[in-house]
Amino acid sequence: MKGASGTRGSPAFVATPAMPAAANWRAAADSLSGALFWLIPAIVVVFLLLPILVAVFLSFDDRDYLGAFPPTAFSLRWYRSFFDNPAYLQGLVTSIELALLSTAVSLVAGTAAAIALAGTRWRGRHGLEALFLSPRLVPTVVIGFSILGFASALHIFDAFTRLVMGHVIITIPFTIRAALASLVGIRRNLVEAATSLGASPWQAFLDVTLPLAKTGIIAGGLLAFVLSFDEVAVSLFLADAFNQTLPIVLVAEMRTNLNLTVAAIATAFTALTVVIVVFLDRTVGLDNVIGKGLYGR
């Protein structure tokens, strides 16, 4: 075992002049693939991070026009301009209200359904679970389009109601899946221990099951909130002139001119994302978010 790990990272197969050409070729392929295995990740990380760093950098640009990169002077003017534009603020308020309301609905309904699915051995439960997760497979434009037609058939013309309808259906698979994953992981004998000690099923649920499943349920709610907050396609179909979400305002802004206020907003989003990742690392642990697999250490 010790010898095996000692050969990792060093070429186990070294070509010597005495070897045939095929072996030389293989050794070359070996070192090339080894190099690529380090080079590709480095390029990918730069590819994924560079644009975000550029946007953060640009958000502090002092010039009032979109000049060549890099900026020559720095200020907070684009952060101030966010608060000077009522369309952004109104959009932000609508987006937060919408995300809070639809996350609350899909969290309550989703968690309740997950509790039932995790607690029953009813034969239809797998089919029902597939149905609950199926909105993820439906393109969001189809959801937005179909709900628009459905709402007008029911004479629902209030845009905010329509938006909540659309956002609940796109977020509910995520709250159900997160709650289900954390509920299924709870060992049955813990609950049985509580009931054998005289707790009612309801008490056992409140004192044992729920505290253990809490982090998973919260993570699902967080994901639902972020999804709703960032949704464009569904909102574009269902919003009207008086109920514009922040993403819709931003998309309209980006299609007409490249205002650097958007860079300031993107920077704020990035900062918020960093907070979420640190929060997940401190509470659940990033290892646990992704899982360690069958052979995890």
Binding site: R26, V45, I52, L137, P139, F145, G166, F269, L286, K292
Partner: protein
Amino acid sequence: MRLSRVHRLLLAPALAILVALLVAPIVLMAVESFRPYIPGRVGSGAGWTLFNYAELISPAYAFYFWDTFRIGFIVSVLAVLLGVPIAWHAARTRRHAVRVFIFGLLIGLLFLSLIAKLYAIQMTWGASGPLTFFGRLIGIPVSSPRYAEVQVFIGLLHFVLPVATLMLIGTFQNINPQLELAAESLGAPRYDVASTITLPLAMPGLLAAFMICFAMCISNFVVPLILGRGVVLFTTNLMYTRFSDVANYPSGAAIGIVMLVLALGVVYALTVLVRTLFAEDLRP
């Protein structure tokens, strides 16, 4: 076993939401897609027609489908190829810091607003960004319409790469590292270990990641909307234009039904493919 009363009550709200907000609207949309379109009128006319579907076969519309599938396919292949090395490192590294960095990066990119990412891409790869030399390098000037397609590629790659890599980490984690170590200790070059042991075992995972990326790409709406500059349009954008510009609801509904069938078809094809090709590997 029957469903108890408590469980039925617990399932009721979610089931009501699914039926009212997914099943019923899609059924209504399917019905609408067979209705004739009357210009200048909101909604649809009376009677039944197949025209809304027949229209989509004409070259002008088939082109949107072709663009969507072509770009989606290339991006998904790239996402899997580029995701494999990172995922492998994340799954195999002994250094805690490397793993936490990769996990944190991927989860962060998953949570980061897509709109923020697309704006950042536009500022970085666009005409005023620091990477304009890339356009000259590949012979497509930043100002030319064809560069919009390059930007859509970049945008979609940002969208699916974190997802593909996270899926692949799971795949590699579930391949016993002892197999690779055993082959290496017997003198096999790393290249051979990768091509004869790791890759074949990872194949179902690679296919799954590819298919998920493909499904995500072809149903994406925002990336071509923002980065496509009107030059690159996906079927999703076509559907939106049918509704927003000409208020042709029946035609939009027909496109929606076709997209839905295609999206579900991709997932179904994946399940069948993995099951038939790797039936033995997947047996517990």
